[in-house]
């Protein structure tokens, strides 16, 4: 038996290109469910997949390129029809018909809990002291601490939410969540 030697770096992708899969299917896989392994690994508890609606492979040698559209579901959220931009990445997996119901009929075990971010946070220590002294010099009352207002982008990708009804009592005591094992607290802005 011939010796197979693997040369090069390990890839982060595993699977086939999208068009490699679709070109083997009837109607270029219209109605079939495809997933990307990367998102399966990253978000194992919530399904991220496409239901193919339209595909136009370029029929090149390696089935690398083409255009495809599908109904996008990301982490269990329906996003409507999207053009698939990562079809050329060798990271796709076809879901067998028998398993499609697991994706299509997926319901969260319990409703998703957004991590709620306070609208304000305390200043860093030195700046807080400077501001306090400045307020004192200006003759203002320093009983109430000045706070730094926060803004975040609330998107599909960042599911943290700013606290809507921020009362002074709450904002004084709260801070950004610092540790949480669940993946729904990422506050990438």
């Amino acid at each position: 038996m011939a010796t197979v030697k693997v040369i090069g770096r390990r890839t982060t992708f595993r699977g086939k290109t999208l068009f490699e899969i679709l070109c083997n299917l009837k109607n270029f896989g219209k109605g079939r469910v495809v997933v990307r392994s990367l998102f399966e690994d990253r978000f194992p508890t919530e399904p991220s997949y496409y239901v193919i609606t339209r595909a136009a492979p370029e029929m090149d040698e390696n089935f690398d390129f083409g255009e495809a559209w599908g109904r996008k579901v990301f982490r269990g959220n329906e996003l409507g029809e999207w053009k698939i931009m990562a079809g050329h990445k060798a990271d796709w997996r076809l879901i067998p018909r028998d398993d499609e119901h697991k994706y299509l009929n997926w319901k969260p075990a319990q409703p998703f809990v957004h991590s709620v971010i306070p609208r304000e946070q305390p200043f860093p220590p030195l700046l807080r002291e400077i501001i306090r002294q400045e307020m004192k010099a200006a003759g203002k009352s320093t009983d109430k601490e000045a706070l730094l207002p926060i803004s975040i982008h609330e998107t599909v990708w960042n599911r943290a939410k700013l606290r809507r009804d921020a009362t002074p009592a709450e904002t004084n005591t709260s801070s950004l969540p610092t540790s949480d094992s669940s993946s729904n607290t990422d506050t990438r802005v």
Partner: protein, 224 residues
Amino acid sequence: MISAKTCLYLYGPGKQGLRSPCGSLVFVRWRKPRWIPMAKSKLEYLPVKKPVDPWEADFMKKQMNHYRTTMKALRAYFACEQEALSATGTVMMEKARHEEDEFRALLEENARHNEHVAAMREKRIADEQEARLLARMRGIEFAKQRRAEEREHADSVIQHYQELAKTLVTAETCDEAIEQCLDDVIVYDFAIDQTGSVYQGRTLEVLEKVSSLSSSSPEVSTLS
């Protein structure tokens, strides 16, 4: 194949690592240029991925996210402060007033300069206009004179030819002219002797007439 060492010698490390025209950084590769392939001994080298502690990765990611959120908030806060200061701060207002004064002074100087230049320009334009007018007048005078001269010349030519036209042969005077020509034949032939005397005419009579007239009688020669 060219070795890496030779390449270094040929191209030198300083040729790489310069800033490209668009200003982005180009990485310095001191060992060998880009077009030298991977060393044979390294062909089968597999870089091993470093093991990552999932808890630590998650923690660091959260910390970085919080750090970015805080930094963004701080930047926004400082921007706000700066804007407020530039609107109300005494130093900034003083600076703004100073700048405005300077700007107004510059504007005035500019206006003065513009006036000066405008005066110069107007004078130049007026001079040019006058010069143009003078040249034009001169041109007109010259043209008039020239036309008069031409007319005079033409008149003289016409007069000359009118004089000549009186002797022209016309249809009426044609017969008369022919008669006259036949009556008065002019012969332009002539003979010449050794002394250089010229004998007009064609016939012997003429020659004899001539020889009789002259004191010394030259040798008689007949003309054909």
